[in-house]
Amino acid sequence: MLDFRLYMAQRLSALIMAPFVIVHIGVMIYAIQGGLTAAEILGRTQGSIFWFLFYGMFVVAVSIHAAIGLRTILFEWGGLKGTALNVTAWGIGAILFAMGANAVWAVTA
């Protein structure tokens, strides 16, 4: 199922995300100390170009990566194929991107 282009997109999005994941986990370990509130999160992210770009790129990469990953699983384990498989995979990518972009906007606008 995974022809070369899907494979490269999967691997490249993974490489792009590796530093994002490390920073994200690091920030989370810092942020949860002493409890977590909306004000504390927004105080860090609101109006920040850096966090907008950071999480914006993170969302793009994860939408591609998760959609391709789930596509493989739906094919190998779910037996989905052909047009149904492609439409579902694109749909998953689109939904993740839409929800993710909305979340990024919500915390950085």
Binding site: R11, A14, L15, M17, A18, V21, I25, M28, I29, Y30, I32, Q33, G35, L36, T37, A38, A39, I41, L42, V62, A66, G69, L70, I73, I92, I95, L96, M99, G100, N102, A103, W105, A106, V107, A109
Partner: protein, 112 residues
């Protein structure tokens, strides 16, 4: 007929796949909760107070573990595929799990 599959690299494959599925299912929920910051900060705050519950802290530890395991497992695969040296595979697989436990453990210790 099922193949007796419990050899280490197969377990690494299953762990990678299952962690990917779990993360993919978690993400929409995560995005939705964060988007509450836009219009419903009060609801976001009430969600965040849930993070004080011990069950939630354990769940968070689980999520961080799954994320770390998925990432380190993936980096192991990239190293095996793209780097010219032939890696001692099982050692790397074990190291990936250990590293993930360490990171998620740190998270957990900060959370409790």
């Amino acid at each position: 007929m099922k193949v007796d599959r419990a050899h280490p690299l197969w377990l690494a494959y299953i762990l990678h796949r299952v962690s990917g599925i779990a993360l993919a299912l978690f993400l929409p929920l995560h995005f939705w909760v964060l988007s509450l910051a836009l219009n419903n900060a009060a609801q976001l705050d009430s969600f965040l107070t849930l993070t004080e519950l011990p069950m939630v802290k354990v769940a968070e530890f689980g999520l961080v573990f799954l994320l770390a395991v998925h990432m380190f497992g993936g980096l192991r695969l990239l190293a095996m595929e793209w780097l010219p040296w032939s890696a001692p595979q099982k050692t790397w697989a074990a190291a990936a799990v250990a590293g993930s436990l360490f990171i998620s453990g740190t998270f957990f210790l900060q959370a409790i």
